[in-house]
């Protein structure tokens, strides 16, 4: 079973939830940190690095001797990574998503691919938890291929995915083909606004989902009414407890420093299994 922790808004507690659910599960599982632009799950887990691999994407290069400047490649490229002035086209490799389409449509067979490094995937063993996370190289703008590489590390019965924030391509790449999405939010206008956007995304993808409200407080007249209205399962509420923030700031998992919260995370996992 693959469970993704996502949110529209950043900083709602995706990593906190993913890490603590992973530790509270007390069963061998994989945790995949797919927030490759700012991976941080490894900061909360102590373990040994067991693997490190370089991830590349194929990018086109043009054989100037064969190219007749027809511009088919430029017309085809949906990412505007190729411009043609009627001579040999110019390729912006940093904008290329590596789809290989230009190579296929080139009538002169003048395009071949070379591998361009975009980042690394590291794997750490931390007790029962095996954590894999991607680190995008500085200056690389396109995260989804690296996210897909991190997801290749999925293995075993239970896989937890820590998704990047937002609602754009990296989020889609992270939550696609999961069995359940946990949308983490907070009872603020910003939290609610971005929750709505995230709900639109997971509904469009057709993945079952529920919500967790972090920093929950009495008298929430924002998120709870919205969840009721939209018939979205409220899976758990994490109280607005200053100690959680203090523990987080020292890089310790909540379940270790504040064991009274362990039950909250184990119940959440049970609830997800029931809902999915």
């Amino acid at each position: 079973m693959k469970i993704a922790f996502a949110s529209g808004k950043g900083g709602t507690g995706k990593t906190t939830l993913a890490v603590n659910v992973a530790l509270a599960a007390k069963t061998p599982l994989r945790l995949l940190d797919c927030d490759v632009e700012a991976p941080n799950a490894h900061l909360f887990l102590k373990g040994d690095l067991v693997n490190r691999r370089i991830v590349t994407v194929p990018v086109p290069v043009i054989d100037e001797a064969r190219c007749d400047g027809c511009g088919e490649c430029s017309r085809f490229c949906a990412f505007n990574a190729i411009v043609s002035f009627g001579t040999v086209p110019a390729i912006s490799q940093d904008m290329c998503h590596g789809c290989g389409g230009c190579m296929r449509v080139c009538p002169q067979k003048a395009i071949r691919e070379i591998e361009k490094r975009i980042g690394i995937v590291e794997t750490m063993r931390c007790g029962a938890v095996t954590l894999a996370y991607g680190v995008l190289d500085v200056g690389v703008a396109i995260a989804p291929p690296l996210i897909r590489a991190v997801k290749e590390e999925a293995e075993g019965e239970l896989v937890l995915i820590d998704a990047p924030p937002g609602t754009s391509c990296p989020v889609i790449a992270a939550v696609r083909e999961t069995d359940y999405v946990v949308l983490v939010t907070e009872p603020t206008p910003f939290g609610l606004n971005d929750l709505r956007l995230a709900v639109d995304v997971v509904r469009e993808l057709g993945i079952p989902f529920g919500a967790v409200v972090n920093r929950a407080q009495e008298g929430d007249d924002l998120v709870r009414p919205y969840l009721d209205e939209e018939n979205i399962a409220l899976l758990a509420e994490i109280p607005h407890d200053r100690r959680i923030a203090e523990v987080y700031a020292t890089g310790k998992p909540v379940v270790e420093a504040l064991p009274e919260y362990e039950k909250l995370f184990t119940s959440l996992l049970h609830r997800i299994r029931e809902e999915a």
């Binding site: 990412f79 505007n80 990574a81 411009v83 002035f85 912006s92």
Partner: protein, 113 residues
């Protein structure tokens, strides 16, 4: 010689210049010999990425050898340079005003981006 201007609204010489290149709404192509002009919609103004490169492609295909815009990003600038297009900066002015300034050699050429 053809000059491309970036236009935010309007479709004649009184149109306001758009200070952006890749995200400009339209391009006005002015022919200095015939004094005629044509207006091209920027089909890539809302592109997710690569609007500047596509804009460079559009003005080069329209035959422009000079571009007058506000600012120009590094990728578009390089593409224009490769195609031999000279880029000049004009802001907060109509196309007619920018053309007059260009003819009087009062516009600054953008030499790098």
């Amino acid at each position: 010689m053809k000059i491309a201007f970036t236009v935010s609204d309007g479709a004649d010489m009184s149109a306001r210049m758009d200070s952006r290149f890749g995200r400009a709404a339209k391009f006005l192509i002015y022919d200095t010999e015939t004094k005629a002009f044509s207006v091209i919609d920027n089909a890539y103004a809302q592109a997710g990425q690569g609007a500047g490169l596509k804009a460079a492609e559009t003005v080069v295909k329209a035959g422009a050898v000079v571009l007058v815009t506000g600012d120009c990003g590094p990728k578009a600038f390089q593409a224009l340079k490769n195609a031999g297009v000279k880029v000049y900066s004009a802001k907060d002015v109509s196309v007619a005003g920018a053309l007059e300034a260009f003819n009087e050699a009062k516009l600054a050429e953008i030499a790098s981006a």
